[in-house]
Amino acid sequence: MTPLLDVQNLSKYYGQRIGCKDVSFDLYPGEVMGIVGESGSGKSTLLNCLAGHLEPDSGAVLFDTKTDGLKDTVTMSEPERRMLGRTDWAFVHQHARDGLRMGVSAGGNVGERLMAVGARHYGDIRAQAADWLGRVEIRADRIDDRPTAFSGGMQQRLQIARNLVTGPRLVFMDEPTGGLDVSVQARLLDMIRELVRDLGLSAIIVTHDLAVVRLLADRLIVMKDGHVVETGLTDQVLDDPQHSYSQLLVSSVLQV
């Protein structure tokens, strides 16, 4: 079976400082990978290198493209990489305002990716936007409202709808529940889990919150100081961590 994503020896430096170093892993279709670590562990740097937002200093990120099969997204042309960014890939930001157009209606926010890939029938675009708002439990009569009129949880659900409308094959998520109230987090997590399952999505989720990966991730990567210190099945890593840092991470969440 061809992996959807094949990451090989990915490194990124900020001057002398290590962002992330020699990271390698595979992601298979339908799989959810969690990347955990404290702030400064390199997990966000890694995610941004994978999604093409940052240029790594060395290594390869092979993605199973529809037309050419496995292709290195680091060396492919920028137009090609940006095209992936609005078709096969999706990116859910921690802060909804980074991933939404706050001056555009909910319908326009969801419709943008459709229009970006050439949709030119207003009625069809609006119908698809309405359908996706329903799937993330935003009432149909809010379609013409701007995200500024939405609660934090609704904004995040809108961001997810906006990302999933074009049927991406790989979703990058950066602390998708960060900054939300606990009760809102729980509802959002349930929703993400159902969407991932129903759509058979592949995802890479970066978080410091082990409850998030416990619920969503099949496998885990634990990072510290830019290095991968442990990988494995989620339950395995959380219930029986091998590396001392993983043990610390797991025990600290247990104390909370």
Binding site: V104, G107, G108, R120
Partner: protein
């Protein structure tokens, strides 16, 4: 007069602007940066258009300047006087007599010919600006032909108004490549941009020049189920009875009496000279002029 170089700008500056114009003509619809000069008039008064006109004028040219279709507004008059003074060129109000026409907000009704240049004053050259304020990002969008965002604006229009309500500065795609802001002309004028004359656009404050060569394809963007319409106010001109021109509503008396008349005053005048009379017009004999 000897205080100024011909048409105010020094020759080196004019050469720089001409290079930008030629580049613009070579890449229709592409915004070419240029080093905009201070002009003896405030921004918003057409400093971009004035610099382009200055770079195009020769002593043999005849200049027409219009503002919202009219030759006699303060803005049009002051720009016309400026070039009379600094370039001593002939001026005219007749579209057919002019070799260079500087305009704000209208395209003349009379079709232009291959010997004419139409210079537009542009306030905001970037059609993607209002949805994507980052210049680095809009530049990339143009470079990579990522134009989904312009349809988001039209989408919002329909969602809010039930139709595409954008009446001015209606976005176009030039020669199948660059999306361009046609300056705040009414969308009624958009189809006229496929014309025989050279069209040059100058934005002074934003320091951009762009161009449409003669006979270039200019397509107004739309949706399949909401096609572009070059709409105007219903009815005919009250003075010359034209039903095919862009009309302005004017207040005619203190009691709020109103009528619709051609916004292109020269065109309206020519029609009345030719004997056309509208519902509120009076026959115009040779003696009446």
């Amino acid at each position: 007069m000897s205080d100024y170089n011909f048409a105010y700008l020094d020759e080196q500056t004019k050469r720089m602007i001409r290079r930008a114009i030629l580049k613009g003509l070579a890449i229709p619809g592409y915004q070419v940066p240029f080093a905009s000069r201070e002009m003896p008039m405030p921004y918003g008064w057409g400093t971009g258009g004035v610099q382009v006109t200055a770079a195009c004028l020769t002593p043999d040219d005849t200049l027409k300047v219009i503002d919202q279709g009219a030759d006699d507004t303060t803005n049009a008059v002051s720009i016309r006087r400026f070039f009379e003074k600094t370039a001593a060129v002939g001026v005219t109000q007749a579209t057919t007599q002019a070799s260079v026409i500087q305009t704000r907000h209208r395209i003349p009704e009379e079709p232009l010919n291959e010997d004419q240049i139409l210079v537009y004053q542009v306030p905001i050259p970037e059609p993607l600006r209002f949805l994507e304020p980052r210049e680095t990002e809009t530049r990339k969008m143009h470079a990579l032909e990522e134009y989904g965002l312009i349809h988001v604006k039209l989408f919002e229009d329909i969602s809010q108004h039930g139709q595409i309500a954008t009446a001015y500065a209606y976005p176009v795609k030039v020669e199948g490549r660059y999306v361009m802001d046609p300056s705040p002309i009414p969308r009624f004028d958009n189809p006229k941009m496929e014309m025989a004359a050279i069209q040059l656009f100058g934005a002074g404050r934003e320091q951009r020049i762009y161009a449409i060569p003669p006979y270039t394809q200019v397509v107004s963007l739309d949706f399949d189920d909401y096609p572009f319409e070059a709409s105007k106010a219903e009815g005919a001109c009250a003075l010359c009875a034209a039903d095919h021109t862009y009309l302005d509503e004017v207040i005619v008396d203190d009691d709020g009496g109103r009528m619709f008349v051609c916004s292109d005053t020269d065109y309206c005048e020519s029609r009345r000279q030719a004997g056309h009379v509208g519902a509120q017009g009076t026959p115009m004999g040779k003696d009446a002029a």
